[in-house]
Structure formats: structure tokens, C-alpha cells
Symmetry: C2
Subunit: 347 residues, 2 copies
Amino acid sequence: MSEQELDERKKKILHAIIKNYMETGEPVGSRTISKYTDLNLSSATIRNEMADLEELGYILQPHTSAGRIPSDKGYRFYVDHLIEQKDREVSEMKEFVIEHTEKMERVLKQMAKLLANNTNYASIITAPQVHANKVKFLQLSNVDSSHILAVVVLEGNIVKNKIIDVEEPIDNEQMLKLNILLNTNLTGLSIDQINLGTIAVLKEKAGIHSNIISDVLDAVAEAISEDEDLEIYTSGATNILKYPELSDSGRVSELLTEFEEKNQLVSLVTDRFSEEENTGIQVYIGNEAPIQTMKDCSIVTATYELGEGVKGTIGIIGPKRMDYENVMDNLKTLKAQLDGIWKKPKS
Amino acid sequence: MSEQELDERKKKILHAIIKNYMETGEPVGSRTISKYTDLNLSSATIRNEMADLEELGYILQPHTSAGRIPSDKGYRFYVDHLIEQKDREVSEMKEFVIEHTEKMERVLKQMAKLLANNTNYASIITAPQVHANKVKFLQLSNVDSSHILAVVVLEGNIVKNKIIDVEEPIDNEQMLKLNILLNTNLTGLSIDQINLGTIAVLKEKAGIHSNIISDVLDAVAEAISEDEDLEIYTSGATNILKYPELSDSGRVSELLTEFEEKNQLVSLVTDRFSEEENTGIQVYIGNEAPIQTMKDCSIVTATYELGEGVKGTIGIIGPKRMDYENVMDNLKTLKAQLDGIWKKPKS
DNA sequence: GTTAGCACTCGTTTTAAAAGAGTGCTAATT
DNA sequence: AATTAGCACTCTTTTAAAACGAGTGCTAAC
């Protein structure tokens, strides 16, 4: 059906229109296509085909006597069927050098910048979510007479810490016991598995000091689950100023604010329903995006995975006429490099 | 001299011009002033005075037959002599509620946002610099067979940590000794005081394991001095789009990029030569700012102090016609609240 | 010293005309 | 039956000219 909706020639013309519009950002006319393609058809013929394509909803006219621009449906068709699957070796672009020892935060910021520079669009990247990640090591220490330091190490060597106020210090022997208690009971549990019930049991076992210990355990739990507030790094937001269709002063303000606030961007990261099975890459065109203010944009995201259900997202936001091919390539490469990068060597 | 340069009437007129220009952003003409002030002078007289003010460099004409706008010198005079020192009680504006227990980073981000919202300009805020801060507590632990966790607590309970790769684990006894060694030798030292010499001595003392210990010590030093890269938080960068004189597409792009990169903003924070003695507030007007791209902006900064030489900076960046009075008030209030807020109760 | 009056300047707004790009349709061509 | 040349028509963009208007500087009168 939709297979037959467009014959080969129409596809070629549509392709040509989209390609051309991507480059110029201007509506493209029949004469341009007539010369641009190797179809050797007169502009009149192209005009007829274009009329058909418009009727079918793949392209539209900003106004009478202007050329055509791709509609959302047109872009969608392009992304789904027209992009050549070059399947070029993933590492064609220069490899990003990732120092394993670097702080994750720094690496991600760097990646975002790289992606933005490479594509000339805005980029977004989130730290891996550690919900399913497990506690590996845990330690309390006396810092001074009124503060205890709690440190938690998760699989993947993510470290969390918290300073706890206490009225009186815990003596070293108690502290040692407490540490053993905590480690034996919590090690190997994922964050989801540590619930209030577990904590209650622990408090029970701790016996004396249970008032102090109560604080301590609460603090530990808090420290562990603290990264609910998902860090989002962006870069190259100002790139959107390069695309006239996005930079009329009304839009631009909304968009840039969106990037600054980052509130809504979360929805990009959590929304994974439409994830394409094979590539792990999702494309939102115009209104398909879960963010209303970005209805004039396209968004391409990829999910990288560190194994064990620990996932993060990288993405690109740009005008609808973005260079999907290049963007998807870039994301694929980066995804490949990120996948599993922080996975501990063997542990 | 400069005392006598402007008589009372000229001051009044200059004040009126600046006030009016601040509100409207449009060049202001003689007739406007004639009505706006209580001087009861005709526009002709005002014109004469304005000609004088222009000759003296306090105001200028965008083009013949336009009204006058304040020059940098004019703004400077306004800020130095014309603002009424209301000296209103600092806490007139609603108190910011600061939870002492909150993570510092979160508080600062919140502050930046608040400041931006209150003023409608862009805000900038830096975490306190801890150069002069002292090491309070320090601990190494075995996380697993190939990783050691190093945790350092500084005065003010700032916690740094680092995971160190090792070939073979250190046994518990050794670890205990090492911890004692580190704590006895480093506690109480400021970061500036821990130099390579100190480290060399430590390595010496450590004796056996010195190859592993070497790694460990390097890592500790690195962890401690890691915050060289001064975090800068900004908010409300998009506010500059509200001021036409800044938002012609060339400027706006440069400015916003500046905010995104944050590279040059550092100079705002480190440049403290011109700090005003009494208020601790600095005002850069136009070219006075250390950042070239912001030559059409004014910048107001305040330095807050947590005691013991630990300082941070808060600031506002906006158009030259910014509401200096309001901005300075806001900064004063915030500074007052920030001063010493994280100072440990007694320790 | 102040002010009314007026000619003059220069940016902005308005209006009209011309240019240009592209279409849709018809009739001729292959 | 598909393609194409030709042409009238539409609608935006560009250009040019005119009118407007805000504000000044100067002169002469108060």
C-alpha cells in the first residue's frame, strides 16, 4: 500500500526536494529539480508530479507561487525510506579519545560539545541512570566530633557521599561494627531493592544507638537515591541561531529558555516507547517530539547502555531540515564508543 | 574639580536623562526632560544644558536630530554620585530560605535562578574557592581487589573522592597505617601548602609499597586540587533577548555563546582589583568589563565570603541601562545571606 | 539667563511601483 | 498517453520616492 503510494520517480523527486531544501532552507521550485536530478524531465512534468506529491501530503507550499517544502510526513518518509543505509564503518569519523580515568561528568560535557561542534546543532546528553545498579561498598567514618561521613560506591565505581550531623560521635568499635553490618546487608542490592522495609530491618539489627543509626541509615538511603534528579548536559544551544526558520525572536527565546531550564528535556530521555529495535536510534520530527515548544524542530536520540540496565541518552536537536544522515551517523559512532565504556574491567 | 564640573542643575538633568533612558531605552529629548523634571525650564534651556553635558562627555547623540543617551562616563557618574544611598534595611526583599543541609551546588543554582528572575538580567554565581581551605580528614579504603577509594574532607565539609586503580590490594593492616600516616601528615594543611615536596617526604616515610603508595598520593593530591576548574553557574542568559540594544542577531549570538562556554566569565571572578572597599560591590560599565564581547553590557558583581579566605562571587550582567539600584540592592541582600552560611557551626 | 520660533537634519514610516520566482493550465509535441 | 513549451496569473521581495516626525541648533526677543 504505502509501498505503492509513491512510484520510483516520485520518490526521486521527493528526495531531491528534501535534499535541496536541507541545503538552502528555501522553498524549492520545479525548475530547480528539473536541473538538479538526472531524470531529464522538464519543469512542467516536475510540476505535475509535485502537485501529486502535495496532494498526498509529502510536501507543501508556503504560499501560492512559492516552491515546495517538505511536510512532516515528507521528512518521515525520507528518514524511513530514502536515506541510503551506507552502513559505513562506524569509526569513520575521528575517534573520540576517552580517558577511562576521567570523571564521568567531564567526559559527558566534552562529548556534548563535540557532538554540537560536529553537527552544528544543539546537543544533549544524560549521565547513565543507575536505578538497577548495585551497591558495591559502603563506609562510615568519623570526620570530627559532630560529623560522620558516609560514602557509598556503586557498581561502575560511581561514588556518592554525604556528611551527617550527629550529636555525639560513635566510638571506633561501634563504627566498625556498624560498617560491617551495613556492608553485609546492603552490598549487592540494587537501589530499587533497598526500600524502607530493608532499612527498618537494619535499624532493628543495629540495636543500641538506633536513634543515631536511624539518621545514618536515612542519610545513606538518601545519598544512594539522590541521583533521581538526572543530570542533563547540553551544548551548542546557540547553534539554533544559525537557522533562520528557528530564530525569529519569539521562537528563539522559548527554545533557548528550554535549554537553559532543562525541565522538559527530561521527557526526551524518559520517553522510549518508539525506540527503533535495530539501531537504537529514535527520530522525532516536528510534532512527534514530546516537547511542545520544539514542534518546529527535529530531535534525534540514541540510547547508550553500560550493561546491567544502566542507560543514558545522547541526542541532537535542530531544525526539521537537519542533516539526518550525518546526525544519525554521529550518534551511532558515539553510542558505540559510549556503550559499556565505564563497565569495570572485570571487578 | 570634578566636584565643580557639574552644577546642581546639570546633575539633575543628567539624572533625569539617565532615569528616562533606563525606562524606555530610547534616546531622550529636551522636551521630555522639560516636562519630566520639576525644574520648570523650557526645552530650549534644557537643550543648552544638554549641549554642555554632551561637550563634557556625559551624554551623546546617536545621530544628529536624535535625543541623547548616557555615555559610559554618564553611567559611571550616575553610579558613583547620583544613586540615592537608600541604605534601606538589607532584608527588605523576601528572605531567601537556605537550607543548610542542602548540597551547595543546588543552593547556588537556585540562587542564580532567583537573582535572574528578580532582576530580569542574566546572573552568574561561583562556588566558593577553597584554595586556602584546609584538609580535615582523609581516608583510603579497599573497594574491591583492584580499586582503592580515596576520600578527602576539607574544612567546611567539602568532600572530594577518587577511585584509584591498583594492581594488587593493600592488606588491611597496611591500609590502617597508611591512613594514619596520611592523616597525621596532611590534616590541617591548606591545599596551597601541599606541594610536591610534601608528597615526596610522605612517599619516603611510606617505605614499602612506595610504588602503590606513589599512585595513591598522586591521586590524593589530584583529588584535592581538582577544583581548580572553578564551577560557574549562570541563569537567565536568555533575559538579554529582552533588551533590543543587545539582541541584534550578531551580538546576541556572541553573548549567549559566552554564557554557554563560561570560559571568559572566569575573568570576572578573578579580577578583583577595583573592588570597592566599603560595600564589596563592583560595577563594570561597558568597556570597563574585562570581557570584550560584553562591551555593550554592564556587569555588577559582589564577593561573598565564608570566612578564612574562602570567597565566591555573585553577579549580574545586563544592558548598560540596567537598574543599578535594584541590582545592587539584590546583590547586597544575597551577599549578606551567603556570607558565612556554610561556615561550620563550631567544629 | 531664559524662551519662543523656525529652519534644518536625519532616521523612520508609508506608499507605490517594479521585479522575480514559481505556479497552473492549455495546447502543441513526441 | 506522457511530456513539454508557452503564457497568464499570483504573491512575495526589492527598490524608490515621498511624507512624516522627532529633535536639534541658532537667532532674536523677553
